[in-house]
Symmetry: C2
Subunit: 206 residues, 2 copies
């Protein structure tokens, strides 16, 4: 293992331990000593990598923002049927979610939990950016006749609801956790409609 | 005003102040003194009504459980088309939500926020009970041919997603808050399907 990757490991262990402690105990109640003990490193290692408790908190948020930036990169979504583009985008987001559940749980605890003197973070960005991307694809689908109706808003909301609920349910009730196949089935229900006989027979179940 | 309703007012002011403080500052960081000051009453009033900080916390949760019990009473939902029964149930829940937003925000902060030494509360009950009610109605709809497919699960998930997302979005982004008409439009999108030409023309938009 090179020095660089060893340093990365220390950094990642510190971020992982801090994520867990901030989520379960809260930012205010977590000390630098507890973070370094949980990570199995020394205090100077934390100060070297992050300068302070605030520094490691911001580094965790910064890392997830970078991941979100890559995930929301829609250049690869510019072709193909609208339904397929939305499924591709949502599956990509769902995979990122599954790979970063501890961080998403941490974000939820910061967003919904009591204020604790932690640095501010702009949560709106996530929701607004993703909504705009989905709205853009849905608007194209309305223009091409792939999406029903003339107002993208109810469709955007219905699709965002499925993504949001699948992630929340998996976080909140891991034992009921929604896997990718079930997630796609719920999306399928929304695309086809749950009322019978709304199903267009020419579009077979996936 | 009778003595009974004056007592109720003191009780409600204390519960309202405690809900706000528990949500924004957290259970652990909130003192009895802060609650009585925010409510504009004396400490003995809190001790008389709730005995302790733990007592007022449990009273807030107990009150919302009673409201949920009444809301989930499905005796009035036993007749009519399945779609109408689901809309009636969901609108009733949404109205209760709109009337108890501070308490729902408090529940979210307890559920997602860090543990703070507050008494345990069984959150699963909410989700599981409502899911079972919706599943029962959807299963009937499959039996009568009103709901598409043979597996109720994707339909149940899609419907629950819309309800959950509308409430979360309203709590999280009050400026984007979802009103009842928009909520019904999103449900309509899920019943009819967002893919064109999935819309059954015999079922007109509401």
């Amino acid at each position: 293992m090179s020095d660089v990757s060893m340093e990365n490991t220390v950094r990642e262990r510190l971020m992982s331990a801090a994520t867990e402690l901030f989520t379960t105990r809260g930012y205010a109640a977590t000390s630098v000593r507890e973070i370094v003990e949980a990570a199995g490193v020394t205090k100077p290692a934390l100060y070297y990598h992050f300068k302070s408790k605030e520094g490691i908190y911001l580094a965790i948020l910064d890392k997830i923002l970078k991941v979100v930036d890559e995930t929301f990169d829609t250049r690869s979504l510019s072709a193909g049927p609208v339904r397929q583009r939305i499924e591709t985008l949502f599956l990509r987001i769902y995979e990122v979610f599954e790979g970063h559940m501890a961080t998403v749980r941490f974000l939820n605890s910061v967003f919904w939990g009591p204020a604790q003197g932690a640095p501010a973070f702009d949560f709106e960005t996530f929701h607004i950016r993703l909504t705009e991307i989905v709205r853009g694809i849905v608007a194209e689908g309305i223009a091409t006749g792939e999406i029903r109706g003339s107002d993208p808003q109810p469709t955007v909301m219905a699709l965002m609801a499925v993504l949001s609920f699948a992630m929340d349910l998996t976080l909140a009730h891991p034992e009921l956790g929604v896997g990718k196949p079930e997630f796609l089935q719920v999306l399928d229900a929304v695309f086809k409609g749950v009322s019978a006989p709304a199903a267009p027979n020419q579009e077979s179940a996936r």
